[in-house]
Homo-oligomer: 502 residues x 2
């Protein structure tokens, strides 16, 4: 192919990919609206509208014409390295999507919508059985999806791979079994000490002041409000419609300050990643994040390594005291630091500390593996759940709402997502160790409210690379080795030794 | 065709139409978001996303397969009357849309987006010349559109017909020339009297209280907030994504109460129409409004016949006085009624009284006719505009922002829209006269805050008929005759005689 022909073909490919992106992001706008502003009676038709956009996007993406273009581009030799990588990744995606008939995509989208509503009702009723039927159907569809995608050894591998290319049951079994005992040991040591007091977080904090504080924090972390916005939703999330429109949501509990603060930082971590993706790659793989795992590495890095550090407390406690003099005026930095790092087995994943968090994930991981593998039925979930919470954390689950109905993910059809939270946390520790080496006096900078050097480091190390690398490759690129959980266990040990003095 | 075949074909037709509706309403959600919540840097890609959805919707709607289905359904004889009407109207729309190539639809959508931004800049600069280039391009495209659509006598007829089937230059020339002198005479009589005092409206009215009041009013008028919501935008508008999700926006000027109040009522009038369209006809013509003109008849009816009536003042002034005791505590119902009905030639259409409003429309109508007819160029607009405002209303235009740049419509590519405001007002007067006859003590009901009987009458007379009739046919159906402007002139004469005592 001549260079001119390659150029014109590549332009056609971009145009096609942008059309698909337009459709997908339009669906994302409709979804964002659904979670923030949709009037209740608008919900049924909205589900249909989103399903239609998904189906059409899929139809466009699996068009043989695009396949032909991709093959021609791959066969040619006039592409720049970046362009070639885009085409390779698109070909990967195309080949994967070709495995799904459009009707399946629509069926799945509709089942998800239906499932989401039945999950909401089940939560209201505090009764898992209300959700069981549509979850059974959804799992049936996810099994079909795994079969269509193909897999080695375990059908769950197909779904894991979809969230983090290369992730497998083998990898996760290894990681979780290696980390479980050290975490249990550490938890035991902490349990022997004087428990941390976080009661100062459970006072009355007026909604509008919380809202203002959250905004002030995410802005200072570098979240560009000219290319984003924050709104209220029932479940905090980040979404984006291009790298110049990246939105976050939060929720505010007037009787618990922590709920809002660290969820804002978490979502800002996601948003900083999206805002830092290469501009000018709209609709193309290099304009996308590396994986769900790397996405979580960014949110967990900001939430925990930055947001739960002593330096961060030194920066922000005085500000919080201005917002809430009565509630926090007498809390010292040390008290605050210890309080927000209180370790205690608990019921709710999103409110868990950095240590016991991973027990929550392990339970969900095992459950998903059993469900997708076919060795457990949906009816058995509550029993298994409650049993595991008792065994692993010694926690009594009082009802399904605070048990197996707590997370929205399954109702969204997201199986294979939860493990990315743990993997993301482990990568975060590893990346942060390298950032700490690379940035002079990182803690001092955070203490002064200057997180720009950290953001800049992440921009270069992670964000600007888009989807060029898989999680594993990216880790090697940054750290010279693949995932090493000792960074994470070492980080926790240092932190809790310091806090709990053992 | 057997009945079974007809049924299955009609179902296919519905499915196809709903897919197109999903795409169009998705574009509407993106547009709503653009006007309310879009972060500034997100604007360029948003324009592209909307253009893509419009182009794909057009592609689906002009698919030969749909055309074939429609012809087969029209040829058969097993359809119910409603179904037949749907198919006839879809065929009309299909035949019209077939005249546009998809590339033209995209070009137009992109030109509109570009034009909107250059209009915004021109307004900022108070300089029409900044807008001239993209307006010229847009008018060129609208002329092409008229040529593609085809027309008799005047190219503007094609664009008028698009907003109100059957409306022509001949009709409008007739209506406007018949009404101009009576309006001038009436204006002369009013000018001879003591001018009304509306200075109480121009005080400081805090934003959040105005917001609450506006919401209270629209709710009492029957706007269902479970199937809608209100937000802030620069230009108030109504949009809908199905009859169960109909949204309005408003703007608030802290130094002018009237701006918010009557624009809320106006938009609620539009929204009540959309919420009252036949449910179960999503995506089909019978689920759509009759025309832009009938839409305006609803908004203007609520805004003026209800919202500017003495009965309405009696209902709402006491409430306003509770919200704003200092500003309005001493204003009497008579003062209020006279103040909100002050007649005075002015610069800004949306703030004009019910009488001089139509001079604003006449000027725009003549201008559009000249521009689309090709006997005026864009460069001549400001001169012509200022000259006409001087001649028709004796008003001196101080700059383009308050002159020919005041309305957003042209930047949206809406040519042929303005006349629907006048026609809508005239129909409103005619419909309201019939409602007044049909509903016992309508004024007494309004005074007591009970507009439910009026809404019910409109639901039956107008809303539930969807797009079954053209404006003219609907008027005949309700009133037994076609548009008769004497209802409007009679209404104004009675009202102002009473207020100005001549």
């Amino acid at each position: 192919m001549t260079n001119t022909a390659t150029r014109s073909l590549y332009d056609e490919y971009i145009k096609g990919m942008q059309t698909i992106a337009d459709l997908r992001y339009a669906a994302a706008v409709l979804q964002w609206d659904q979670e923030t502003y949709l009037p209740p009676k608008g919900a049924p038709v909205r589900g249909q509208q989103i399903a239609t956009l998904s189906e059409i996007a899929h139809k466009y993406f699996t068009d043989e014409k695009l396949g032909g273009q991709l093959q021609d581009l791959l066969a040619g030799d006039n592409l720049l390295a970046n362009e070639k990588r885009n085409v390779e990744l698109s070909w990967q995606d195309y080949s994967k999507q070709k495995k799904f008939p459009s009707s399946f995509v629509r069926t799945l989208a509709e089942a998800v919508n239906q499932s989401f509503h039945s999950w909401m009702e089940a939560r209201k009723a505090n009764d898992f059985s209300v959700f069981a039927k549509s979850l059974t159907r959804l799992i049936e569809l996810k099994k079909q999806e795994a079969d269509m995608l193909g897999y080695e050894q375990h059908p769950y591998n197909a779904l894991l791979d979809d969230h983090d290319k290369g992730a497998t049951v083998q990898l996760l079994d290894g990681v979780f079994s290696a980390i479980q005992q050290p975490l249990k040991d550490l938890l035991g040591k902490i349990a022997d000490q004087q428990p941390a007091d976080d009661s100062f977080l459970q006072q009355h904090f007026p909604k509008d002041k919380q809202w203002q504080f959250g905004l002030q924090v995410v802005k200072e972390l570098g979240y560009d409000m000219e290319a984003g916005r924050q709104d209220i939703s029932e479940h905090p999330f980040t979404t984006n419609f291009n790298s110049q429109d990246v939105r976050i949501t939060t929720r505010i509990d007037e009787n618990d300050l922590s709920n809002m603060v660290w969820s804002c930082i978490h979502e800002a971590g996601h948003a900083l990643y999206e805002q830092g993706l290469p501009p000018g790659e709209y609709g193309l793989p290099l304009g996308e994040p590396a994986s769900y795992t790397i996405h979580e590495s960014q949110s967990r890095l900001w939430e925990n390594h930055v947001g739960r550090s002593r330096a961060f407390c030194e920066r922000w406690l005085p500000v919080l005291q201005e917002y809430f003099p009565q509630q926090l005026g007498k809390v010292s930095v040390e008290q605050f630091y210890k309080g927000i790092n209180k370790v205690q087995p608990s019921l709710i994943r999103t409110e868990a500390d950095e240590l016991t968090y991973h027990f929550h994930i392990m339970i969900r991981y095992e459950l998903e593996k059993l469900l997708i593998g076919g060795s457990m039925t949906v009816q058995d979930i509550p029993g298994y759940w409650n049993e595991q919470y008792r065994k692993l954390m010694g926690v009594q689950v009082p009802g399904d709402r605070q048990g197996c109905l707590q997370d929205v993910h399954w109702s969204h059809g997201s199986f294979g997502y939860f493990p990315t939270y743990s993997l993301g946390s482990f990568y975060a520790a590893q990346f942060y160790a390298f950032a700490n080496q690379a940035i002079p006096d990182l803690n001092g900078q955070i203490k002064q409210g200057n997180t720009a050097p950290l953001l800049q480091w992440l921009r270069t190390a992670v964000h600007q690379k888009g989807r060029r690398f898989t999680s594993e490759e990216l880790c090697k690129d940054i750290c010279g080795e693949t995932l090493n959980i000792e960074y994470f266990t070492g980080y926790l040990l240092d932190k809790y030794k310091d806090i709990y003095k053992f």
